[in-house]
Symmetry: C2
Subunit: 484 residues, 2 copies
């Protein structure tokens, strides 16, 4: 993104801005309230709302918003309930609409776009670069997208088409096209003169890319090297050739890891023929990593996507259904496992009080294993060479913890019910179920990964299903054999 | 960190390097195996291992490692079991030890440091900048730290002392001291001449900082502006003054959010008197965000810290204890809640089969709420103004889902046991417990945050405790009243 917001002030504490907006909004709401309470006929009320005071109030809010960075306005919009959000959005100057639509979360963008008509949307989209239009394309109505496409120059159309063709989690989706390229046979003096023709360089231009006459990538020339070297140096003698090259079809996660490992600010994206087609910058990578990590936390809880915190109850409830439905099925299954042993429980009701302990601890222990595996998978640390070793280790930890906590639980059962056999059944069931937990806690994310799915999503529901049903079966089964 | 690794080659696929190292290691292990199988006396075996072939083998591995970037070596060390890790570590050239110790995870760093003696450690630490020494200081033995401190220049001692004085999650802990500052009354020509005196600029120098004669911060001068403007321009006329300023006592998370919002590459750190004391760069922020997000996933599962995946069973088991112990306590409590209703269960054993459903669904629903709240808290989106509103919304979702899934579960109970009253008790208990879940799912992370603690850590254990015990109490209580 080019730095269109240079004139807006930065802040360390955007929360204070949000408070200010909330205060201005509640002043506004108070006024509307007073007007409404007077129970005037509709038209008169409307006239009164339109008083000078009211207008001043909104004007003050509008001016305040005007002074904020697009990212801060996005944050404020995300933090406001729908009707206040729409009010603030209507106060944003149309020429900033595009920038802000880029900054807000997907869920909130949808709610903003819903308030805009075709012309407004087209105007907003036309303020954006091709790669940015691609980012919001799936939220735009078809006819708007067609209008925007027609309004673009040929080169930009190509870029938009390219950017939209890459899957969401690929390098191509992170790419932008604002890179500067130079030839390798010129001097730094020439490069400097070329750069001086820009009013300002594209954001995150820490290096220019060196290409041959066929646009084939040759190397990079860091701006800092231009600065510290003599103007008569030839680019070829100074450029770095042994640098990272991304490919648009690579996984985005690979690019993110490269940025982390090699402390990059920008990196070139090269097609199969070795041509420079775009670049990835660190700000996009930062957003990608933040998004991924949020989606890990959410998908561990079985939420497919981020939620607008002020989305309707109906919309939010739906977002949570897949998981709860699946959970209900596995709970029904576990319930039937217990049902099989109704006769045993009838004879020895203490079993009903103790069985949730066996199931619960193993479930938690398995989730710990999964958390560690998910992290190691994210870092690419698990190989065929060490997977077996990790399995053995997790089994050992499960066995060790099973003996330790199983003994404590067995003692608890013995003390409560004065039955030594019950204590031993309890301990054995805990040990066995923790081993089951270690196995599934490791196996499920590994299998999910192998199947090309997100190892975090749904792991926990399957693990709980197995440790619950397994725990009930092992405990009640052992009890049926040894206690009845 | 200064770019000491410019000569090492970059790669998009570090996994292939790991495979290569593993292959070389297994060739090595095979050889040792053959030697051992021959059952020679100890000394002869030793002699044989030291054959030329063996040496060549290790030399090949050493040379391969030599060609890798420090971050890639760190990744390989993290992915190898302890004994192979030590072998590879011993092949790393001593002059690269410092860089690699900075790159590896805390847990793995500990295992590497354990293999090094005092002189090796001092030599490694002396290769680092003051802010880097501070990062690994807590892993170094006291006497090594003292040696290193003595070897530093006065200015660096001050920097080290300062860097070590800031808490782990503050801006001060992210800060480095490799910033370039210039005065505001000179021309770009003078700045350029000054910059040319460096062989290369410190990493991530996208801007130089403008200070007055008392080191007081005045503004920033982006390198790109130096490049695009005429050499005779005065710094004062070009520098940006309305830019973000960090303070070493600020929360690191605030700095991270500023970097994300404003797409920064570096930002100045200023003390209370307005003096420039350091800078924060985007690579450090990237690592911080990755670490934080990993620790969120881990702490949701009750793991205090990252684990070396090849740590001993004993060490890993201990890392998981706090959580399991807490979990066992809450499970005992839930068990006693059921125990109170033993009489009811004895009379109506179907209750024992159905009660885990009531507890489980509410627990999962509450964890979904918590995941969303944790995310919103991380983004600073929850204010006093909207907290009440969110509470109402989560209760509405809980009520809605309670009716929906409660009805299905009630139907399930009715179909199984042909008892309409049981179905109604089931539905009511699910509804009530989902409301309990919504309340605690929202309240617990908010209260944790208010108390200044990590809202993710332990939230889930408390939520499960309440939805389990609550679910059993509500379901069995209603059953006692209406069914018996």
């Amino acid at each position: 993104m080019t730095d269109r917001n240079h004139d807006h002030h930065y802040t360390e504490n955007v929360q204070s801005h949000l408070k200010k907006v909330e205060a201005l909004l509640s002043k506004h709401a108070l006024l509307e309230d007073v007007v409404h309470r007077q129970e005037l006929p509709r038209e008169d009320r409307h006239a009164l709302v339109d008083t000078l005071v009211h207008k001043q109030n909104l004007a003050e809010l509008g001016m305040f918003i005007d002074g904020l960075h697009a990212a801060d306005i996005a944050y404020i919009l995300e933090s406001l309930p729908i009707e206040q959000r729409s009010l603030v959005w209507s106060l944003v100057k149309p020429e900033r609409d595009g920038d802000i639509l880029i900054e807000v979360s997907d869920a909130v963008r949808e709610s903003l776009i819903a308030t805009m008509n075709r012309d407004e949307l087209r105007a907003a989209a036309e303020q954006l670069d091709a790669d940015e239009i691609a980012d919001i394309a799936h939220d735009l109505p078809q006819n708007v997208l067609r209008d925007v496409f027609r309004s673009l120059a040929v080169e930009e159309r190509e870029q938009l088409r390219a950017a939209m063709s890459y899957p969401e989690d690929s390098v191509g989706a992170l790419m932008d096209f604002s890179m500067i390229h130079v030839r390798d046979d010129v001097t730094l003096e020439v490069v400097s003169r070329y750069l001086r023709r820009f009013d300002e360089l594209p954001d995150h231009t820490d290096q220019v890319f060196v290409v041959d006459r066929n646009d084939r990538f040759k190397g990079v020339l860091p701006i800092n090297l231009i600065v510290v070297n003599e103007p008569e140096t030839i680019v070829r003698d100074l450029m770095l050739t042994d640098t990272i090259q991304l490919h648009p079809d690579d996984k985005a996660e690979q690019a993110a890891q490269a940025f982390e490992r090699y402390d990059l600010v920008s990196a070139p994206a090269i097609d199969e023929e070795g041509r420079l087609i775009g670049r990835v910058t660190v700000n996009v990578v930062l957003d990608y990593i933040r998004n991924e990590s949020e989606s890990d936390v959410l998908s561990l809880a079985g939420l497919r996507e981020e939620e607008d915190i002020f989305a309707s109850v109906w919309k939010s409830a739906k977002n949570r259904w897949t998981w709860l439905a699946l959970n209900l099925c596995t709970a029904f299954f576990a319930s039937r496992v217990i049902g099989t042993f109704e006769g045993t429980i009838e004879k020895f009701v203490a079993l009903a009080t103790l069985m949730p302990i066996v199931a619960g601890i193993a479930g938690n222990s398995a989730n710990q294993t999964t958390a560690i595996i998910i992290r190691s998978l994210a870092l690419g640390q698990i190989t065929q060479g060490n997977a077996r070793r990790m399995m053995l280790k997790e089994l050992a930890i499960g066995g060790f913890n099973g003996l330790l906590w199983g003994s404590i639980a067995g003692l608890f059962a013995y003390v409560l019910y004065h039955n030594a056999a019950l204590g031993i059944v309890m301990t054995s069931a805990m040990l066995l179920n923790l081993l089951v937990g270690a196995t599934v806690g490791l196996a499920i994310p590994l299998v999910m990964q192998k199947l090309g799915r997100d190892p975090a999503f749904g792991s926990s529901v399957m693990i709980t299903a197995i440790t619950d049903s397994g725990g009930f079966f092992i405990f009640l089964g052992l009890a049926t054999i040894f206690l009845i």
